[in-house]
Amino acid sequence: MSTVEIRLGGSGGQGLILAGIILAEAAILDGKISVQSQSYGPEARGGSSKAEVIISDGYITYPKVLRPDILLTLAFSAYSCYKKDVKENGMIIVDESIILPEEQSSVKVIQFPIIKTAQEVIGKSFVANIVSLGVLAELTKLVTKDSLEKAVLNRVPPGTEEINRKALLEGYNLVKMRGSEVWQRQMI
């Protein structure tokens, strides 16, 4: 059975919980089994927030992520807090604005200008979560683009469909322009 565990970490208000919901829904549209959970503090914005998604082809017993295969983060606090949990053959996707400390690690770390793309190319910083999903999908092929687009359109507020669709495409482009190899999970 193949199972991939993903954690999205950031600060409250960045929309990463919604991104987690969309990712899980896309996996379900692909016919996979998926669970999504989150944790957050009592505050409405700011504070730290984390969304977790497990995608599997079989029944998921334990619903939380303990050792993510993939960590995507848009905030330094989330990066420093969760990087130690990532599996050795896993991957960390980090926003380019975050200055990473130099350190030795077997985990692959890739940076993309996610927040900048949302702000400057789309013109709306609040779509950084959807740009993130585009990056994640292009890089990992965990969900099909068809299902992801459907899931995005299901869950974003009416009237924002076009900019969200564009945000997704810009996310794909960030990876294509980089020419990164597609991340392949080593089967255990």
């Binding site: 919901i21 899980a24 829904e25 379900i28 089994i33 998926s34 669970v35 999504q36 959970s37 989150q38 944790s39 957050y40 503090g41 009592p42 998921i60 017993t61 334990y62 619903p63 939380k64 303990l66």
Partner: protein
């Protein structure tokens, strides 16, 4: 609408309730149950139902009782602090035999505790939170799909036995999103209230051994009295000790003597082994994963998961615990269901407890470690 949907636990409660015929919701929102109120507000108007946000939890419970007496299926939802406030009126619903459903999505307490953190500290509050002798039905789901199923059963049991039924969830299941295929449940039986026939001689509290009389909806020409006082078969208050004894016996008996109809549980690998784990709600999922870890270490573990925790499925537990060397009760509190299990096992087998109460969810590893340790220490 596609058949398989990604749904949150709280959302599944609302979907299940509407499938069971929910027509009235009154509540006062509280984390981590708020989505139940939000979605009822959104969805009830489309099925001819009503949503009211009341001034507090006490009033919401009262409104639910009132709505139910008019013949509507009614519910409310809350978390620990609000559940405490509802208790007096839950007792009223118990003695007045008014069907209603209360969802308690547990967070770490006591008091306001940790609003966004999971706990299972209301096991005993759900059983004994209201005063006086009574029995009650409490259902605790372990997955989103089970939340949908038990909500329908909560309404069915509350109608069948004219009793409040508690859905005891925890933050993990309340906020978890999983796929639910509603098609799977489309043939579930929905129990509706039976309508009495004789308007002249209607006795709303007629003595029926291990059962209940039909409840007439107010406004349909049946005149009767509803009170929290001990009452006659016609509903009028009395201090007659004979009537009181018979009433209390029937209130408790209608649930305890129908246990076989009410109990729900799931078991895995209970044919025998080293350790039997007893757990419920989200904790049971961590236990299931722990069982796989233990298997790799050569420890054979089974899982007994009551879905109805009250009345507790004691008959079945008595059949399976003797096949194991020891028993562990795993719960996110300092030990509550443990005492019920210990009472049933009665010292025949070692009963240990594994507890977590720091606002965090169990990891499978910590459960497996504690069990391994117990074998190392020769308990």
């Amino acid at each position: 609408m596609m058949a398989t949907r990604l749904m949150q636990g709280n959302e599944a409660v609302v979907e299940g309730a509407i499938a069971a015929g929910l027509k009235f919701y009154a509540g006062y929102p509280i984390t981590p149950s708020t989505e139940i109120a939000e979605l009822c507000a959104e969805k009830l108007p489309f099925v001819g139902g009503k949503f009211i946000q009341m001034e507090d939890e006490i009033a919401s419970m009262a409104a639910v009782i009132g709505a139910s007496l008019t013949g509507l299926k009614a519910m409310t939802a809350t978390s620990g602090p609000g559940f405490s406030l509802k208790q007096e009126n839950i007792g009223f619903a118990a003695i007045a035999e008014v069907p209603c459903v209360i969802a308690d999505v547990q967070r770490r307490g006591p008091s306001t505790g940790m609003p966004t953190s999971p706990a299972q500290g209301d096991v005993m509050q759900s059983r004994w939170g209201t005063h006086g002798d009574h029995s009650i039905i409490v259902l605790s789901p372990s997955s989103v799909k089970e939340a949908y199923y038990v909500t329908i059963q909560a309404f069915n049991l509350s109608e069948k036995y004219r009793t409040p039924v508690i859905i005891l969830m925890d933050e993990v299941i309340g906020h978890l999103r999983e796929a639910v295929n509603l098609e799977e449940y489309k043939d579930i039986e929905i129990i509706e209230r039976t309508m009495p026939q004789d308007k002249e001689n209607y006795l709303p509290y007629q003595h029926i051994e291990n059962g209940v009389a039909p409840l007439a909806p107010f406004g349909k020409g049946f005149r009767f009295h509803v009170t929290g006082l001990v009452h006659n078969e016609d509903g009028l208050p009395t201090n007659d000790p004979k009537v009181a004894e018979k009433l209390i016996e029937r209130l408790v008996g209608k649930i305890e003597n129908n246990k076989r109809d009410i109990v729900m549980f799931e078991e895995k690998y209970t044919e025998g082994g080293d350790v039997l784990i007893i757990s419920f709600g989200s904790s049971a999922r961590a236990c299931e994963a722990a069982i796989e870890n233990l298997k790799k270490e050569g420890i054979q573990a089974g899982l007994f998961r009551p879905i109805a925790i009250w009345p507790f499925p004691d008959e079945r537990l008595k059949e399976i615990y003797p096949k194991f060397k020891k028993v562990f009760v795993v719960e996110m509190n300092t030990g509550q269901l443990y005492y019920e299990v210990d009472r049933i096992v009665k010292g025949d087998t070692y009963v240990g407890k594994i507890n977590k109460f720091n606002g965090e969810f169990f990891t499978p590893c910590e459960i497996a470690e504690k069990i391994k340790e117990s074998f190392k220490n020769g308990i």
